[in-house]
Every structure is written in structure tokens, then in C-alpha cells.
Symmetry: D2
């Protein structure tokens, strides 16, 4: 089993700082917990940490640094040593809002990660304390009212190299993957828990490196995904893929493009894996050609678009 507990927080770059912020606050229903330089720190009402999304105004879009929280100081040290051994390490950093020291490195595709253990839990102001003591915060009751950061899908020129690194060095479990007829890997779905996916790699159709496919936020029901689609429609957010069910991992999805150009998902559902020996499900090209769970064909942009955008 892994020394890592979960993925996140994640940093997202946006060339449209104000409009992206308005999207995450007004439409997605997240709340601002801190502001520092060009970055705004946000959380969903059910995120246990102080923040789960760092939105950074920049000259482009894409993912900044992706945090991975270790189970303990010892687990952190173990994994840092393993990363260092791969030659992908960068070094220690600190100073991130509400977080202890972090060790930065890149995956084989060039995405920036940061391992950390210490972090602050969200403490609601007294007049916003939830009635039940086992929830981190009150339901926001605003817009899509997303609950928490759920998973990240990043693009990689070489999916297998990156997923091998995640499995071997970081301790991820590989639950599902796509193997094309030529034997290459088009996607890999990995997790640190019984949840079907936390970290996903899919192939970068443009062979670019370090790009983001999407960041997914959780809601508790599929009905709330559908309501989010209503809300996006009225708010003028581009719906790239209407609510439906994935064949892979069985999650329910809504995909769209936030004002800064990044793909965002509102998700719910997805299978749980209790079997410690769960065989990795391998999807073939023929199977993927059937579309999503109920036969919906994926829009072509889903297979090509990532951030930052590159010339095809």
C-alpha cells in the first residue's frame, strides 16, 4: 500500500484571472480563503484542508503544481528518497499558504508535483460553523456548490512511463487502462484509495508535455451534476460534454471549459474497489469505440484539447 494519502491541492493557471475567479466562486460555489500575489486560494464546502484550488493569474492556462499528501512524516521521507533515486527530484520548498515543507519533483512528462505532509485543516469562522461536527464546513448553497476537489487528469506524451513512475515510485494502484491495438497505452486510471480514480493520465494527442486535461470537483449526487449543467448553460459556460456516465471507472460527468480555457469536470459516482487483488481492467480500441457507458460518443475535442493550448 501507499505512503500517500490523497491528491491535491492543485494549482491552476489562468490568463483570465478575474473571470476564472468569478466562475469558481459564483458558478461553482467555492469560497475564497486566502489571496497572495496573483494567486487566490479556494475550497469546496467539504474540503477538509484550508484550500484545494490555487488559482493563479498568469499569461497562460494549465496546471501549476499538484500536491500529494503523505500519510506521515516518515512516509514523506520514504517517498522523497524514492523520488530522488529516480533523478526526477527538484528539492524542498516551503512557504505555501497553510502548509509545511514540500518536496518538488516532476513526473516523466514534466508535470510539477509537490509531496508534503503538514497542512492546516479548514476552521470555519464561528458564525459559519456547521451544525454537525463531522463535516468540515457548511454547504455553500451557491451555484453548483461543489463539495471538494476529486481528481486530476493530466496529459502525457508517454502514458506508460508516467504511470509506471506513479505506481512504482509513488505507490499508486492502477485500476484501469486503455491499450491500443499497437500495444501503446492511451490512458491509465490510478488511485491511492478505494475510489476508482484520483490521478489519470491520458495520451497527449499533440505530443506536448506537461499539459492538463481536466480538474474534477465532486458533488454528492448525479442530480447535482445535471443541475450544474443547467447552471453552466445559463451562465454561458461552454459545455463540452453533457452529463453522462463513463464506461471507465463508471463516474458520472459534466465537462466544460472555464473562462481561462481549462477543462473542468463536475463529477459524482464511480465504482469503489475493495478487492486488494483487483485485476487491472484493460480496455481495447474496439471497446472504446463503443463510446461512454451508455453509448455516447466522446466529442473529438476531448481527445485533443488540453491546457495550455498548443499549435496542433
Amino acid at each position: 500500500m501507499s505512503d500517500l494519502a490523497h491528491l491535491g491541492p492543485v494549482e491552476m493557471f489562468t490568463p483570465e484571472g478575474e473571470r476564472s475567479l468569478a466562475f469558481f466562486v459564483d458558478t461553482m460555489g467555492m469560497e475564497v480563503v486566502a489571496q497572495q500575489g496573483p494567486s487566490t486560494y479556494l475550497r469546496g464546502w467539504g474540503d477538509y484542508q484550508r484550500w484545494s484550488l490555487k488559482l493563479t493569474a498568469s499569461d497562460t492556462s494549465g496546471m501549476g503544481v499538484l500536491g500529494l499528501r503523505a500519510w506521515s512524516p516518515e512516509a514523506l521521507d520514504r517517498r522523497v528518497a524514492m523520488v530522488e533515486a529516480t533523478g526526477l527530484g527538484i528539492g524542498w520548498t516551503d512557504g505555501e499558504v497553510g502548509r509545511g515543507p514540500g518536496y518538488r519533483f516532476t513526473d516523466p512528462d514534466g508535470h510539477l508535483f509537490e509531496l508534503y505532509y503538514e497542512c492546516e485543516r479548514y476552521e470555519p469562522p464561528p458564525d459559519r460553523a456547521p451544525a454537525l461536527k463531522n463535516v468540515p464546513g457548511r454547504y455553500s448553497g451557491r451555484g453548483c456548490a461543489v463539495k471538494r476537489l476529486d481528481h486530476i487528469n493530466i496529459l502525457a506524451a508517454d502514458v506508460r512511463a508516467s504511470r509506471d513512475f506513479c505506481v512504482d515510485t509513488l505507490g499508486y494502484r492502477l485500476y484501469e487502462r486503455i491499450e491500443l491495438d499497437d500495444g501503446s497505452e492511451a490512458g491509465a486510471w490510478m488511485s491511492l484509495t478505494i475510489a476508482a480514480h484520483e490521478l489519470i493520465y491520458t495520451r497527449d494527442a499533440l505530443a506536448a508535455r506537461g499539459r492538463l486535461h481536466h480538474v474534477a470537483f465532486w458533488v454528492d449526487t448525479r442530480e447535482e451534476c445535471m443541475r450544474a449543467a443547467d447552471i453552466w448553460l445559463d451562465a454561458g459556460i461552454e459545455i463540452e460534454a453533457a452529463p453522462s456516465k463513463h464506461a471507465i471507472a463508471q463516474g458520472y460527468f459534466l465537462y466544460g471549459i472555464e473562462p481561462g480555457g481549462n477543462r473542468v469536470e463536475v463529477t459524482s459516482g464511480g465504482r469503489l474497489i475493495y478487492d486488494p487483488d483487483e485485476p487491472c481492467v484493460v480496455w481495447t480500441e474496439a471497446e472504446r469505440a463503443k463510446g461512454q457507458a451508455w453509448g455516447v460518443q466522446t466529442v473529438p475535442s476531448f481527445h485533443t484539447y488540453g491546457t495550455p493550448p498548443v499549435e496542433p
Copy 2:
């Protein structure tokens, strides 16, 4: 069939004007469309009329006037004549915000009603126009985000007298009722449409007259009723009856007391009656003793509390 189309808008009195308004706007997610003297006019995001709730600051709680919309000017005239023939008529009025002439009368129990036909439809401001042209307004995405006024339950010292009036003079269909062992009627569920209930009379345990039991607002799913309970809990709203399913009419409910003391329901579901000859379902004392649909016993206050409160 009836000459009347539907029930509402309804006026609610509150001795806590500001706090009640905050409840309906912030917690229930309604929006203010007009203000006049001590009254604020509100709507749910799916109400087709300009407003469905008139909240009037007053020295007590309870229901003000309950509107009933006629199908046509001719239907209005027909029903006014029938009401006048019963001796319960009061006379014509006009000047209500966004509405044509109305004819006021009381039911046998003394509740004030107003028949009207002309009214304004809600027109969203251009920057709030919904994306789909067959919805009256955008989903509010705030708090419980109730969609529209659904039904009213009023108390009567003599249920049968009032429901006879509603059936004979107003044209309501009687779908369900409670008949106690002594032959008296403890409740009557009536509607103008295929919806299971729009106007309900239940017995006033204190034999007072003209009192309100509750005003119910619709949400599209039972999940949203449950979410409303979460929201009320955090907002400090008293939950009188937690979400569950009624045996009568099969509606799903959440009951609580708004800051002004009036009972409010968030509801969804409920059976539809397509049979023109649907036999009225008569519930006995023994059957009612089984509690709600799944056996939940109704809290005692539900059988006694109404607004305005009276000395027992």
C-alpha cells in the same frame, strides 16, 4: 372540471419582517421582485407569475389573502357569481402588484381568498434571461433554491364545511380525506389539477378560525428536500419534521418554522391523478395511527400548532 387554474400567490404575515425576509431570500433562495409598504413580493426561480409570496410585516403571523387564478375572464365571472350566492363574498378590489381586479371572499372558516384572472408573467432582466425559453427564470442557485409555490394547508374548525365549499363553489376535486371514528372529518386534500394536493384543510385542534397550517414550496427532487434539511440545520431554522414521505398524497416533506413563526414546507413528489373518476381515498383513525408512509410518527406539534398562535 373547474374554472380555476391554480392556487396562489399567497400572503404571509410575520412579526419578524427582516428575519423572515432573510429566511426566504438567503435560506430558501427566493428572489425579491417588488416592495410596497410593509410587504415584500418574492418568487421562486420557477414561478411563472411575477411573484408567488407576499411577505407582510405585521404584528402577528398567519396567512393574509390567498389568491386563486381563474382560467379566463368568463370563468372568473362564473365563480364570482357562485361565491356571491353563498353569501361569503366581500367584493372587488384592485391594485395588487402586477394583477388585475380581484374578488375577495372568505371560506366558511374565515380565511381570506381572492379570485383573479389578469396577472403579469415574470420577465427576467436581460442579463438574467435563462438559456432555455421554456423556463420562466434561471435556477437561483442559492440556499434551498425552491422552485415555486406548491400548495397551502389551512386549518379549519369545521373541515367538512370548508371542503364542501371548495368542491361545490370553487370546483376543487377532493382526492383524499381523513374520517375519524366519530364520523367527523379531520382533513381534506383537494386539487384543481392532476397534482395530488394544492389546497388542504386540516382540523384546527384549538377550534380557532382562519389559521394557517403551512405553506409549501416545490423542489424537483427528494434529494433537494434532504439538502434543504442540511441547510436549515446549519442556518438554525427549527426542523419540526425531518424529510420523509407522507402516506396521504405520497408527497415528500420537510417541515420547519420560519423566523416569524409560520410553518413552511419544502416538498417534492406526490402522486398524480389521471383518472377522472378517481375514488376519494378515505383514511381511518386506525390507518392514521400507523404514522407516515414508512411509519414515522408525526410530531404532536404538527397536530396543534398553527399561525397566528392562540392560547390553547
Copy 3:
């Protein structure tokens, strides 16, 4: 208002009698209440009549006779007279299982209708009596467990002629319609109640006459539509359109083809129309080009396929 209460039962022809029957019983979860010659009579667990679907083994697919129930004997006579005046009348019939005399006629497109008033209500056998007396039968708990017949969509070479007949002669309310750029009508959504649609006409792309587009069965939640898709997938039923939300009428849908070739829908949701003056919503070609509510493009077969199939 109309003299008619609701649509149904409907007769469906199938060249695959046994396989179609297995579909409606095992997959859709309906129950057989009678058998007569080549016809099997079925009902959903929430249908108040003895049966809502008459499945008739035949040499082809398509719709047989579509029943329309009148509000009263007098209402029946009134509408029969009006139909006779149009010259589309055929004459009285009787002998249908569990039903009194019916008057048959065709709409301008040649579909066979039958007006009737008398009919039997479903009476469950004592050992299947539901616990609550205001439900017609027990939840079937089998497969998709559809509740009741909901609406019918038929094709017409000339939509406007048929919808004018339904509005003028039968008393339907026209809630929504599609008007193409050339001024012709591509679809009309009509109802006898506050439900958004009960009878729909859409243009027959092949200019054939008397064909069926689909028969829709109701479930209480959108979750059940999605579960139905899972069930169809496993049962090998062809999913033509995966669960999503219609822009028109806002119903949630799942479309597929039953073994006999007829298109069947599992549906939930849809708007309610309380306004007696509700303006008919007119959709343009440009608006329809946007796809369904959340942007899903309708599959081409949806615009062309009907039963019985004809050579294009």
C-alpha cells in the same frame, strides 16, 4: 378545457411477439393482466387502469389503436359529435378488454384513435395488495420497473393538420412546437393536463402516414432512467439515445428499440404548466441546431426512423 382526461392505453404491433413480450415483462418490469388471441395486455405498477399497453403479435411493427379517455359519458358524446363533424369518424366498437364502448376515428394522418369513457380500474389480487391505499399496485421491483404509460409520439406527414385537429376537435392544449425556417411545422407537443406533453406529433421524414415515433413509460426519478440504461445495456437492448434532458418540455429521456423494432422511451421529469395562458413556445431551426438541453446532438435515426419501417 378539454372533455378528455388522458391518453392511453395504446396498442403496439410487433413481428417478434415473444421477444417483445419478454422485453416488456422482464426488462421493463411490466406485468401481464390478460391475454386474448395475438394480444397480451400489460400494465406498469402505477397504472390505474387494468392495462395500459396492448402488445399484439403481427406481421409488422407500429401503433395499433390509441385510446383517449373522456371525463364523463357526456364529454364522450360531445367529442364524438365533434369528431363526426370532421368526417374522420369510423364508428362505435366494443369488446375491448375491461372497457366500455369506444368510438373509433383517425387523425388527419391516418392514425387510429378510440374515444371511450368506461373502463375497469386495476384491482390487485389480495396477496399483492399494496400497503398504502392510494397506490394502484405494488412497485414491481423487476428490471426497469416502469410505473405507467406516460406519452406517445407519432409521426405525421403534415404535423400542423394533425395538431390543429387535436387542439380544435379533441381539446388538447399546445404547449410547444418547432417551426422551420420555411414556416412549416416540424413538431407539436400537446397535453390535456399540466404535464408538459402527452401527445406529440413530429414530422415523418419519409412522408409516410400513420407511423409511430415512440411510446414513453414513466419512472419517478431521473436516477431510474439511468438505471434503465444500465439494464438495457446488459439485456442487449439497443440504446438509440442515452439518458439526457430534452430542451423541449424538459423531460429526461432514454430511447431504445424493443425487439419488435418499435422505439420505446423511459422518461421522467418535464415541466408543469400551471398558467392557463401559457404562451406556446416556438422553437426555431437555429435553436434546434443547438441540440438537446445540455447540447447533446440528437442521433440522425431519431429524425428518420419510425414504425412500421418504410423504404426511404
Copy 4:
């Protein structure tokens, strides 16, 4: 972290073998996969193992042996050694249907457990293979259609002793507990995963030993819990607690008594715990007096009844 993967299968004794079996098959919608002597082996459609419930006809009710699956052969050996060190070990056994060697022991309260690693995965017969390869079986579409065994709640005379054993020796994480005013522990909610509870101990009000409080089966939505209540009502199953939401762990519940006398739950929802340092939530007597999440008071039998029944 734990060497154990998850809880289950569980054995349930029943003095009403045939009626209990009919309940689990017809009402709960499970399927029979094997039969051996007085025991029937059942599974929910989403259980990955061949079976999750062993129903054994006996002269009384209650729990037989509760399985706990280890992550690996090495993990199994480690935990067996730790159990042996406590003196609670019994010894190795084998021969359970579809399972490798198991090591039996009791918790401090006398409940029988069995640690094992090897087990067979469910393999559907070819004509029942699900369409998607990442689900273990087809949705059963029968009755409540429960998906899988979810959690077990057992009673203990001394809750703290048993939960200390589970945490220290078995590696459970303790997420929530009840501490009474006298400092004693009335309940402990533990898990091996991010799911809020898998193994629960609550105080045996009769100070009996080795008794069962309830066995819980999962459905994917709260709507399905409510539907299960409808189904139980019609089937004559005693509903002990109607669907509502727990304050502790936030699970949605329906409780009832199966024909053999054992308490059974249909559950969905519940919080997920991603924080490796999640502080254990301690509920006080005053907090518990508020009832469940939305204020529903727990029925008294819930605090006293267990199986096998004992004289109070």
C-alpha cells in the same frame, strides 16, 4: 495503515431459514450462488467475491463468523501473529466455500472472526455477463436490488475493549465514537478505508456478549433506500426506522427486521475521510440527545434489541 482490506463475508443465523432466504432473494434482490448443508451463500449484484452473506438455518438468530480479508498472504500472517499474541486466537480452518485457509479468533466480546486472504472472485455465467467489464455482475433488478455488503454493527458489553482490539491488533482506523457523561464509551465507528464506517461497536444495553446489532447492504442512491422502504412496506417487513440520515458518519439508512429476527439495514451515502490525521469525532450525550442528523429521535428498540434476543 492496515494489513486488512475489508470486512466480510458475514454469516447470519436464522431460525426461519426459508422465510429469511425468501427475504434476501425476493425482497432484497440478492442471488444464491451456493448451498451447503443448512447454509445458503448469497451475493449482491455488485459484490466482487462469490458471496458476501452466508445464511445459516439454526435454532436462533445472530451473527456466525465475520470474515476479514487481508491485503496479502504476508499481511495475513502478520495479523495472525498479532492476534495470537493477544490470546484471543482459536486456530486455522479451511473448507469455507470459495475461500482459502482462515484463521479464527474472537474479539474481546466473544464475536467470532476469521482472517483470510485467498478467495474466489465472482464469475458470472456467460449468459449473465455484464456489458461493462469493470462491474462484477449485472444489476439484479429485483426488489431492493442491494449492491453489496457494506458494514456490520455488533454489540459489546465493553465497547472500548473491543475497539481497542480492532485498532491495535487489526489495524482499524477509529473515525467517530460516543462518550457518555460518565466517561464510558457507547459506540465506536471504525474503518479500513476512506469509507466512514465498516465495523461498528455499540454498547449492549443488556450486557450480553457476542450479539449482532445489524448487517448493512449498500445501494448507490438515497432514492433506492426510500424505494426499499416502499418495498418492505408492501412485503410486510417490519420497518424499525424509516429512511433518514445519521448524524454519525452521515450515512442514509433504512432499518428493519428480517423474518429470522435479525436487524438489517439498507444504506447509502456517508462521508469519506481523506485526511490521514482526521481527528476522531467524539459525540457527547447531549449531542446524541438531539437525535439523528435532521433531529429524528431514534426508536428505543434500536438501543436495546440485538440478536440473538436475550431476556432483558
